[in-house]
């Protein structure tokens, strides 16, 4: 005999099956959620701790901002001063170098040569002087070469001055 029924309903077996399915699904979902929570909670806790620590440090370092600004200003000033100092040092060194070169040239020309003119340029030097003998001019050149403060030093001209005056005018050029 077939089961007659005038209404379409869920049979008790189907209702039990749905209940079983629901309970198993609920159980598995709960386990899944618990596992996820177990993995996630330590990370969330760590994040919260870091946030708290960050907040506390931010409160502590609020007064540091003005100090940091001041430090930055001072660093900029220091940088400016260093640049100025570098410029001064550069000029000072150039001056010392100039004096050294000048004294070298003066020592090299003494005592037999009289300096007529001396052009010291940033990269070159040109000495024009009088001497009574040619030997004096070559000695002066040798001394300049020996000083090792100039290179490519050479005697570019040597000429007799006048008939009345027996001195020689010579020109020495070199690189600084």
């Amino acid at each position: 005999m077939k089961k007659n029924n005038l209404i379409k309903t869920l049979s008790p077996a189907q209702q039990y099956a749905i209940k079983r399915w629901f309970i198993i699904s609920l159980f598995l979902s709960s386990i899944t959620i618990v596992i996820i929570i177990a993995f996630e909670i330590p990370q969330i806790y760590a994040l919260q701790s870091i946030k708290k620590e960050n907040t506390a440090l931010a409160i502590q370092t609020e007064s540091f901002n003005s100090i940091i600004d001041q430090q930055n200003k001072l660093k900029k000033k220091e940088q400016d001063y260093k640049e100025k100092q570098a410029e001064i040092t550069k000029y000072k060194d150039e001056l010392i170098s100039l004096i050294t070169h000048l004294s070298t040239v003066v020592q090299a020309s003494n005592p037999a040569c009289n300096i007529e003119s001396l052009h010291i340029k940033p990269n070159s030097i040109e000495l024009v002087a009088y001497c009574t003998q040619i030997q004096n001019a070559t000695n002066c050149l040798d001394r300049l070469v020996e000083s090792k403060q100039f290179h490519d030093t050479e005697l570019t001209s040597l000429q007799h001055q006048t008939k009345q005056n027996s001195s020689f005018l010579f020109t020495i050029k070199g690189q600084r």
């Binding site: 005999m1 077939k2 089961k3 007659n4 029924n5 005038l6 209404i7 309903t9 869920l10 049979s11 008790p12 077996a13 209702q15 749905i18 209940k19 629901f22 309970i23």
Partner: protein
């Protein structure tokens, strides 16, 4: 349990007949009788509460059912209803084919009726079918009653369908359609006459809670038929 509606393993059979409504709480038993009647109550439907199976006073009928369920704490029980009355057209039709379709039956079919059928027994190279028609309007009323009363209804069946199930259950493995045919022919297809109080006592243990068994027998038989037809364990 949310979101599932609760239900428990209890079964209540409701029989609705022109002048009476009965509620029976039935359980499976391991004793001599297969079933146990835990509670039974018959409500009288007077003052046109129910006429030709039309619910004229659904509030009263709902209250009767809810009272019975509340008294015995059966709010979540499985409910099966049987209907019996002049509005249900029932016939035993002989057919030439054992596997008919709805079009095979020479009944006046309308969209307003629900048609059902069931093969009963063979007779003289013919096949006797139990055919029933229930008006949609009446069925809708009972569906609305079920919804209003929040019943976990699992079936609504004609009374004779429940009795046929009970007959098969009574014979168990010894059930033979030929024997059913003999019995049905003997009683002119009045299946109610196939049972007697002795058979009822074999089926269900009433524990002497019902004094006039003969008066209550049609309702109890239907209730037992509802229980066995639904396969509740």
């Amino acid at each position: 349990m949310w979101p599932l509606p609760q239900f428990d393993k209890q079964f209540v059979a409701i029989t609705i007949q022109p002048h009476y409504l009965t509620c029976s709480w039935i359980k499976q038993s391991q004793k001599k009788a297969s079933l146990v009647l835990c509670a039974y109550e018959r409500f009288s439907l007077r003052n046109l509460a129910l006429e030709k199976l039309i619910l004229f006073n659904p509030t009263y009928i709902q209250r009767c059912i809810k009272t019975f369920l509340a008294t015995h704490q059966l709010d979540n029980a499985f409910i099966a209803c049987s209907l019996s009355g002049p509005s249900i057209i029932e016939q035993f039709l002989p057919l030439q084919t054992p596997s008919p379709t709805l079009n095979t039956f020479s009944l006046q079919k309308t969209k307003n009726n629900i048609l059902g059928y069931e093969y009963i027994y063979p007779r003289d190279h013919q096949f006797i079918f139990y055919v029933y028609q229930v008006p949609q309007v009446i069925l809708l009323q009972y569906k609305l009653l079920i919804i209003a009363a929040r019943l976990n209804s699992i079936a609504i069946v004609p009374q004779r369908s429940a009795l046929l199930s009970l007959y098969k259950f009574l014979y168990g493995n010894a059930f033979r359609k030929a024997q059913l045919a003999v019995d049905m022919i003997r009683y002119h297809n009045m299946i109610e006459y196939l049972f007697n109080p002795g058979l009822l006592a074999r089926i269900i243990d009433m524990s002497s809670s019902i004094k006039n068994i003969e008066a209550e027998m049609p309702y109890l038989l239907t209730a037992c038929g509802l229980f066995v037809s639904r396969g509740i364990k």
